[in-house]
């Protein structure tokens, strides 16, 4: 009846996951009860859960990423403490638990923090920057988000029911095969990624179509803000790479569930297929994450330097070059696995070549700042911090791209330090820069600068204190994923790293305090004009938060830095005849399809993990029925009358006029 699920699945004998899971459940219940008692549930259902508004979905993505960031960060703290004390001792985490923690940390940070964070920002910003009313497929957008949330739910469920994978974040076979991992850990891993992978694919298709087909009038390709270009490149990579992940995990699951022989040691299976396929997805994935971050830095640097982006066209070229070359370097992840010197050399050279367009970008940002009137706000600090940190990470990357060097450093702590250096220094700094930069657009008030800067400095210093020691330990021969060790020279570095971890924890505290303080002081931080930073692209041309239809009148773009020009023109003409003719606007109706679909997907995923076959069929039928019901409805749009549009828009125009005349008088 319940497949493999019994009471023994709940880890009563392991206090750490049990307590952690218990705390999470109590916190969730408390939030739920508070929502219900306060009567917020109908509002949440109507305005958020069923929303197909790209801005709301973007905010929910970022919220999901932030919550999962706390979970992934807790795992990191546990690991650092373990390695600091596990010198010639077992530490406090038994091996099977430690292995789950580092697997969960990697899986969560990539799939459920970095991915939803950048997808959320792209969702929120790209339609605004393109001057359009929504993404190409609003309801699918909601489906994509909720499927991602389903994946996150399943990963967290493994904390209290059963176990998570002990195989590392990419679950290499044969270790992840049924023979060596008979438990449900790998199944939790694979099914949560399969389900959230569908969500990511949907998001990718949606964003590619939006950028290529839904630009406002005059928004030629070479007038798009840089963030739109990097979104396009990143979404193209999602569309091209995520199907590979789906296929690879499907093969692994077939091996595990039906006794197939893709990656087994018997009957002619070949694990190198898995290695090649998973990294043919895995390397583009890195660029899926970091390209949007590059876009964010481009926006931030140009806005806060008060200059157009230097070398816009070279930036576009560099972005698209990275997009293509990222598919030609995957083998550098396993130089040591016997491809031979010729193949290794080719992939080594390709890996070094990809550093060139990245270098182009760095110079472009520097030249954008050069001669500019720079304002060192929090987003700008993140950007400058990124440039310094990412260069170090990039240089160590070029170092390990040399096959002979890689033979020594492969799977060492040096590698761990390298990819944290690029992912924290690149993606995370970018995500935080974008978060602070676009927060006023999403919520209508700015974030507190003092706490934001404190968060930046703690992260910046904490990052170096944590990860430079890992470089050193790697050079001293320490391999990754060690539950304990007996080499005395590694110990001091592990202790320094745990101090760095403490500083990083303070940074997270600063972020939380920043949010609380800003919400409390929101009236004094209010952004009345919709353009708090003196921005250059179209998202600043509408109010903060924007109305559901984004723009009362679709903008007509005449050049790069569209909004900058509009402002210049408006200053000249003093809004002389700014009485536009408003028209009715058709907007997509909200729909519970995404939520209901994800509900059935959760049931199906859970049932698949525990081999509860009747429940699998139930979930499948439910998901299919949801789509048929969705397809059956007759009215998927509603009309906002011109009078309402006019009323909403005039208030904002008034605020803007005040701003322009103020600026004009100064």
């Amino acid at each position: 009846m319940l497949g493999k699920l019994t009471w023994s699945a709940i880890p009563f004998d392991q206090p750490i996951p049990l307590v952690a899971g218990g705390v999470v459940i109590v916190a969730l219940l408390a939030v739920l009860i508070w929502v219900v008692v306060k009567g917020h549930l109908p509002y949440l259902w109507r305005e958020w859960i069923t929303s197909v508004d790209h801005k709301r979905i973007g905010v929910m993505y970022v919220l999901l990423a932030s919550v999962m960031f706390l979970r992934g960060g807790s795992d990191a703290i546990l690991m650092r403490i373990q390695q600091a004390i596990a010198y010639q001792s077992q530490g406090y985490l038994p091996p099977e638990h430690y292995n789950q923690i580092f697997s969960a940390h990697g899986t969560i940070m990539i799939f459920f923090v970095a991915m939803p964070f950048v997808i959320g920002l792209m969702n929120l910003v790209v339609p605004l920057q393109l001057g359009v009313r929504d993404v190409a497929f609003p309801t699918l957008n909601s489906v994509g988000f909720w499927l991602t949330a389903t994946g996150a739910l399943l990963v967290n469920l493994s904390l209290v029911i059963g176990e998570f994978a002990r195989t590392g974040w990419l679950a290499f076979p044969p270790l992840s095969g049924l023979v060596y991992s008979p438990g449900v850990g790998v199944d939790y891993y694979a099914w949560s990624l399969q389900i959230s992978g569908v969500g990511t694919l949907v998001a990718g298709i949606n964003l590619v179509t939006t950028v290529l087909k839904l630009r406002t009038r005059g928004m030629n390709y070479l007038r798009m803000p840089m963030f739109c270009w990097t979104t396009l490149a990143s979404s193209l990579l999602m569309v091209a790479a995520f199907p590979i992940l789906t296929a690879t995990l499907a093969m692994l699951l077939l091996d595990r569930y039906l006794g197939f022989h893709f990656f087994t040691n018997e009957a002619g299976g070949n694990v190198m297929i898995f290695m090649n396929l998973i990294w043919a997805w895995g390397h583009p994935e890195v660029y899926i994450l970091v390209l949007p971050a590059f876009g964010i830095f481009s926006e931030v640097v140009s806005t806060f330097s008060g200059k157009p982006l230097f070398g816009y066209r070279s930036m576009v070229l560099a972005t698209m070059a990275i997009c293509v070359i990222s598919f030609m370097v995957w083998l550098h992840h396993f130089f040591t696995m016997g491809a031979g010197p010729d193949v290794n050399a080719i992939f080594g050279i390709a890996s070094m070549i990809i550093a060139i367009p990245t270098g182009v970008k760095i110079y472009n940002w520097l030249f954008t700042m050069y001669g500019g009137r720079i304002r060192f706000t929090t987003p700008m600090l993140w950007s400058v911090g990124f440039m310094v940190t990412f260069i170090i990470g990039g240089l160590t990357g070029v170092l390990v791209a040399v096959p002979p060097a890689d033979f020594i450093l492969h799977n060492s702590m040096f590698l761990v330090a390298h990819f944290h250096n690029v992912i924290i220094g690149g993606v995370l700094f970018g995500a935080f820069a974008g978060f602070t930069y676009w927060f006023p657009k999403a919520f209508g008030f700015r974030l507190d600068e003092r706490w934001g800067k404190a968060a930046f400095w703690c992260t910046f210093i904490g990052f170096y204190v944590t990860f430079i020691p890992l470089y050193a330990a790697g050079m001293l021969g320490m391999t990754r994923r060690m539950q304990h060790y007996d080499v005395a020279v590694w110990r001091p570095w592990m202790i320094v790293a745990v101090i760095g971890m403490a500083i990083l924890t303070m940074a997270v505290v600063c972020q939380v305090v920043q949010l609380v303080v800003s919400i409390r002081n929101r009236e004094s931080l209010r952004d009345r004009t919709g353009d708090p930073w003196d921005g250059r692209s179209l998202e600043w041309a509408t109010s903060s938060p924007p109305p559901v239809f984004n723009f009362a009148i679709s903008p007509d773009v005449r050049g790069e830095d569209a909004y900058w020009e509009m402002k210049a023109k408006a200053r000249q003409q003093q809004f002389a005849h700014a009485q536009p003719e408003y028209q009715d606007i058709e907007m997509p109706r909200n729909s519970p399809t995404g939520f209901v679909c994800a509900f059935f997907a959760s049931i199906m995923g859970f049932a698949l993990i525990w081999h509860i076959w009747w429940m699998v069929i139930l979930g499948l039928i439910g998901a299919w029925a949801t789509f048929v019901v969705f397809a059956w409805r007759d009215h998927d749009e509603y009309v906002i009358p011109a009078a309402d549009v006019a009323r909403i828009d005039r208030a904002n125009i008034e605020e803007r006029r005040n701003l322009v005349s103020l600026a004009g008088s100064v």
Binding site: T209, T216, P243, H261, F262, N270, I273, W624
Partner: protein, 215 residues
Amino acid sequence: MAIAATAGHGHGHGDPHHIGLVIEHPGPAPKRVVTGFGFWIFLLSDIVMFSCFFAAYAVLLGQTADGPKGAELFDQRNVAIETVCLLLSSFTCGMASIAADVRNRLWFYLAMAATGVLGLIFLALEFREFAALVARGAGPTRSAFLTAFFTLVGCHGLHVTAGILWLLTMMAQVFAKGFRADIMRRLLCFALFWHALDIIWVAVFSVVYLLGSTP
């Protein structure tokens, strides 16, 4: 949809890179274009997924673990009939699209029904082939080669199954709602999907059954 071409001097004033002639982007594309385009992107991603299974098949082709090889297993006549069914169904699917374009319900239902029946015959033949292989001990767990074979061909079969479910849903939608604009967009996507399955089958036929039966 007119593309306004204006002399760069006046219109493209803010564009520092303009070279005399600026083609103004006309604004968001119509819904039909957007939907079709998005679905094309999906199909491309689906083809990427298939390419992984093709790659696995190519690598594992020789890994028969002392079991039967493709040449001993594949029945070319059966595969030929399957191919004819699918190619014909692509033709009837095209007929259905034309019937929908001219709003002819009778021909639409006839052509869709023919498409569905041909698809079902294809599935039945494939099922029979699979069952026969399993019965003679050449199931997917026998060797890595058969694992890759069953996965690749079965994945295509699953797509055809989903296609038939979609086909029935579309017939029901046209029956209940007629040739509305949104229904027409879905029909466009369905037709794209069905033709894409054909293209993938051509690759399956060539790579799996023709190349795979060389002794």
